[in-house]
């Protein structure tokens, strides 16, 4: 009993610094945001429970931002995972110049965001390079950044910047797939695709989950690029939740900002929980 008590004390003492860190840097700020989301203003701070959330879900700007963010994130995660996995498989295959391609795919990581934005601007501005080329071909110019194309231009920019890192993660995961399992399957007559889908993909599931989460979180940070590209009020297809939050912060509307932040974190938490659940189901077969 005495030893157990001492163990508890020691454990608590070791736990205290990190608990304080979590408390001060995560729980307290989150609690403050929660608090602001259930009071009615910076001056009186009357408790209004869910009124701010009701207002939020009626706000057209929030709904537009949420829709755009959902579209962008879904596409970004899907394309980000699939394309980086394909790239990893290509780089790991017996293609010539593999080293060169690996460097090429990784190089965007070293380019500052502002340079990427500048190049995109030069290319896709109404008087930019792409429209000049179209003009040479006798085609009319398109206002790329103020039409539906803008979302896919930003998507291309996002993928170009992030695929290299994801690819490295997949290459590492591919190297961990046991060769003996693959060789046994090959001896048993399994083809390339069967080996990939039945064996490699199952071993890759933790990496897919990780890349998916990283891509999802990065997709929420696309605001920086869009803000630099189109400013505070971009074309409606590019207006994301971060624009909404940034602008409501500037308007001192902490209630709207906090409610949106809570909703966003709840959605992300739900998505992550779903991904973890899917991954655990998928991995059971491998471990089993």
């Amino acid at each position: 009993m005495k030893y157990k008590r001492r163990d508890n004390l020691t454990g608590t003492a070791f736990l205290l610094p990190s608990s304080m860190g979590v408390l001060v840097f995560f729980l307290l700020p989150f609690g403050v945001v929660m608090y602001y989301s259930v009071v009615n203003g910076p001056k009186n701070s009357n408790f209004v429970f869910l009124d701010n959330y009701r207002q939020l879900f009626k706000n057209p700007a929030f709904l537009l931002a949420a829709k755009n963010t959902a579209i962008f994130s879904t596409a970004a995660v899907a394309l980000g995972v699939v394309l980086s996995l394909v790239l990893a498989l290509l780089v790991e295959s017996r293609l010539p110049f593999r080293g060169f391609f690996r460097t090429v795919f990784l190089s965007p990581l070293m380019v500052p965001v502002i340079s990427v934005v500048l190049v995109t601007r030069v290319a896709f501005d109404f008087n930019g390079a792409v429209n000049s080329w179209l003009g040479v071909l006798g085609l009319g110019g398109v206002d790329w950044l103020n039409t539906g194309y803008s979302r896919w231009i930003v998507m291309a920019m996002f993928l170009w910047k992030n695929l290299g890192y994801n690819m490295i993660l997949f290459i590492a995961a591919l190297n961990n797939v046991p060769n003996e399992v693959l060789e046994s399957a090959q001896v048993d007559g399994a083809g390339y695709f069967r080996r990939f889908f039945q064996i490699k993909l199952r071993y890759l599931s933790p990496a897919i989950l990780f890349v998916g989460i990283i891509t999802l979180l990065n997709s929420f940070r696309i605001f920086r690029e869009v803000y630099l590209l189109s400013g505070q009020y971009p074309y409606s297809a590019l207006y994301t939740l971060q624009h909404f939050m940034n602008n409501t912060f500037k308007m001192l509307d902490y209630q709207k900002l906090s409610s949106a932040a809570i909703v966003m974190s709840a959605v992300i938490t739900a998505i992550l929980a779903l991904l973890f659940w899917l991954e655990s189901r998928f991995r059971k077969d491998v471990e089993g």
Binding site: G41, S45, A61, K250, M251, Y254
Partner: protein, 703 residues
């Protein structure tokens, strides 16, 4: 144990949450110090130094230099000794004084007899002694360190290009050397101690006068104010601790019946002494004793650096003993000024009063953060609504009738046209504008203005025609707005091809002339121009208003919930005081009495005169700089009754504050999108669709 730990964490979270949004706690302020002793010394102040309880002042009389010795401890008669040379600087040590004349530094006994002499490498700019009795004699390029016996110990050179301005003996030992480079904003400040030199971070704020320290503070300083380091400016004296980089406000000179530059500050017991260099060739020594009363701090947040507001702060401080107004400057923080203010509001640290330029209070008023000044105005026995120009109040009002802002001065902003073109009308709308421009195919809207500038001129008055903000209805993709854009495009193209000539306006080739009457001289120049009889002041084309506005460059508001609302209102009253209003020179005053006075003066003719102005950034003698300008001001005939009536008519028609693109982001959104239209890259319909899309988001965020 686990339960206890969890409970402690939960309590911590709850306590933190409960402290959110509690608002601002009042600043403690500081004790009031009254002048308890005043000594007038018959000498112009040159320098001073203190050792122990004795203060030595180097002064200049008509007959020559004098050394005045007096005790800080008790009130004794000051002893004055004539000196044989024209000394400039002084440093006191136990039993003797170091005193300099050009490159020579003499050691004098306390009766003024020369005991010894040392030489510096050049003209000495300041002297100081450290706690170990070493003498520091600074020339512009270096500081020579001498022992108490006068032997040179070391020479401490300045960094390349830096010139010493002054030395300050530090309370904690050593001497601070302030050296600056030509036109460099921040000087290099070093602590000199024997042969050691080390940078002294945090020891300098631009413009602050610094005084030697003691065992309480490393040094004292007078907090900077653009009105100068004078008693009448009501400056705050602070102590500075170099270890913690903390400043402590100690007392202030607001409201004192003395005038002159604050030359030195010394602490003695619980009191402070201040040497004031008067403008009459005399020096006044003031002793400040602590009272039982305290002063609160009234914070004036500033997004402007306007001298009138600075003077209002000084007026307020001079008029009240209970509060001392201090500036909290947001204006030096570029485009982050509003963000910093918002963060202060979120932290409950908002200023009591806010003064802004080129920005609006919209978001703060919408959030209920501002005090409606009408109830304060209505219950005030000294001032009422009738004392302020009605059109100014009307223009500053919110749509709900609240007065959240006040301007200390204003200008009139309107527009005039040729009567033969617009006819005998006092206002007009968009349809009239279209009809006139169709009638005169050669006509342009403004002289030499095209592209998005046309948007900036016109949209402020037409915005409400296309946007019904309270009902969330926006018609920027409507045929009317598309027609408006097409019209602007055509007028922009006309303006680009336009070849200006001298008589364009009188021939009806330029339609609109914006008018801005900042002073009555502006108005006089307008009504006394040759073409005045042929023109009409119609205001800007407007669908819902009169097209006449007031321009309020500086607007002051009171933040709610600071606990200092009454004092904040007194601050607003200081801005509206007769003295302050009568001193408005570059704009028009807002009180009725001051306006009447300005109008009376405008009725009087002023003769032709010649004015010479020079800009002299390098300190050259007056009139020798190349930037000197001399120009003639023609005779200004006094205003006639009709002209006065027209002025009041324009003033009466002014019903809103002129909004430009800087203050109104939605104008910027429209103007930005129109760039492509004016460049011919997009059609009016495409531009209108984009504007509608962006403005819908802009206003939806505000719902």
């Amino acid at each position: 144990m686990k339960k206890l730990f969890c409970l402690a964490m939960v309590v911590l979270v709850l306590v933190s949450l409960c402290s959110c949004g509690q608002g601002k706690s009042n600043d403690m302020g500081y004790y009031i110090y009254d002048v308890a002793r005043e000594e007038s010394l018959d000498a112009d102040f040159l320098d001073s130094s203190r050792y122990g309880d004795s203060l030595y002042i180097l002064g200049k009389q008509k007959s020559g230099c004098v050394l005045i010795s007096l005790s800080l401890k008790d009130k004794s008669v000051a002893k004055t000794v004539d000196l044989s040379k024209d000394y400039e600087h002084l440093a006191a040590v136990e039993g003797y004084l170091w005193i300099s004349e050009k490159s020579s530094v003499d050691k004098l006994d306390l009766n003024g007899a020369v005991l010894d002499s040392v030489s510096a490498s050049g003209n000495v700019v300041d002297l100081a002694c450290d706690g170990d009795g070493r003498l520091y004699a600074a020339t512009k390029k270096e500081t020579a360190v001498f022992s108490a016996a006068g032997e040179i110990l070391s020479t401490l050179p300045n960094a390349e290009g830096y010139e010493t301005g002054n030395l300050v003996a530090l309370g904690g030992g050593g001497v601070a050397s302030y050296a600056s480079r030509l036109r460099a904003e921040v000087p290099e400040v070093n602590r000199l101690e024997g042969d050691k030199t080390e940078p002294l971070p945090g020891a300098y704020n631009p413009g602050q006068a610094t005084y030697e320290g003691d065992d309480k503070y490393d040094y004292y300083y007078a907090k900077y104010t653009p009105l100068g380091n004078t008693v009448e400016a009501g400056v705050q004296i602070c102590g500075y601790d170099l270890a913690t980089l903390a400043e402590t406000p100690l007392f202030d000179t607001a409201g004192l019946p003395f005038q002159g530059e604050i030359m030195a500050v010394y602490a003695q017991g619980g009191s402070y002494f201040m040497a004031v260099g008067g403008y009459d060739g005399k020096t006044t020594l003031l002793k400040f004793d602590k009272t039982e009363h305290t002063k609160k701090i009234l914070t004036v947040g500033r997004m402007e650096s306007n001298l009138s507001v600075t003077r209002t702060i000084a007026d307020f401080n001079a008029a009240t003993r209970e509060y001392y107004a201090v500036s909290k400057n947001y204006f030096g923080q570029d485009d982050l000024a509003e963000t910093h203010l918002n963060l202060d509001i979120a932290a409950g640290e908002q200023p009591d009063v806010m003064s802004v330029m080129l920005t609006t209070y919209d978001i703060y008023a919408d959030k209920g953060l501002l005090v409606n000044m009408y109830p304060l105005l209505d219950k005030d026995p000294d001032i009422s609504r009738e004392d302020i120009l009605p059109s100014v109040l009307r223009s500053l009002e919110w749509s709900g009738g609240q007065l959240y802002q006040m301007c200390p001065y204003f200008a009139l902003s309107t527009c005039c046209e040729h009567e033969s073109v617009v006819g005998d009308v006092d206002s007009w709308n968009l349809e009239d504008l279209y009809a006139i421009c169709q009638q005169y195919p050669e006509m342009t809207l403004y002289m030499n203005q095209w592209g998005s500038r046309l948007i900036n001129f016109l949209i402020g008055d037409l915005f409400s025609y296309f946007a019904d903000i309270p009902n969330n209805q926006y018609r920027f993709n409507s045929p009317e707005f598309i027609e408006f854009l097409e019209f602007l495009k055509e007028m922009s193209d006309r303006a680009r091809e336009f070849q200006p000539e001298m008589n364009d306006y009188t021939e009806g080739r330029v339609l609109l002339t914006p008018l801005n009457f900042s002073t009555m001289d502006d108005y006089k120049a307008f009504v006394q121009s040759e073409s005045f009889n042929e023109i009409r002041v119609t205001g800007f084309p407007s669908q819902t208003g009169t097209g006449c506005h007031i321009t309020a460059p500086v607007r002051i508001a009171i933040f709610a919930g600071t606990g200092n609302e009454e004092a904040a209102w007194q601050f607003i009253k200081a801005a509206l005081s007769n003295e302050r209003q009568m001193s408005v020179t570059d704009f028009l005053p807002v009180t009725v009495s001051a306006m009447e006075s300005v109008m009376e003066q405008a009725r009087v003719s002023s003769p032709a005169t010649t004015v010479t102005k020079y800009v002299d950034p390098e300190g050259a003698a007056a009139g020798t700089n190349l930037e000197t300008r001399t120009y003639s001001v023609p005779e200004m005939v006094g205003l006639t009754d009709d002209q006065v009536e027209l002025f009041y008519d324009i003033l009466e028609r002014s019903d809103s504050v002129y909004q430009d693109a800087i203050e109104s982001p939605y104008i910027t959104i429209i103007a930005d999108e129109c760039d492509a239209l004016f460049a011919g890259d997009k059609s009016a319909a495409e531009t209108a669709a984009l504007i509608q899309s962006k403005l819908e988001i802009y206003f939806a965020e505000r719902q």
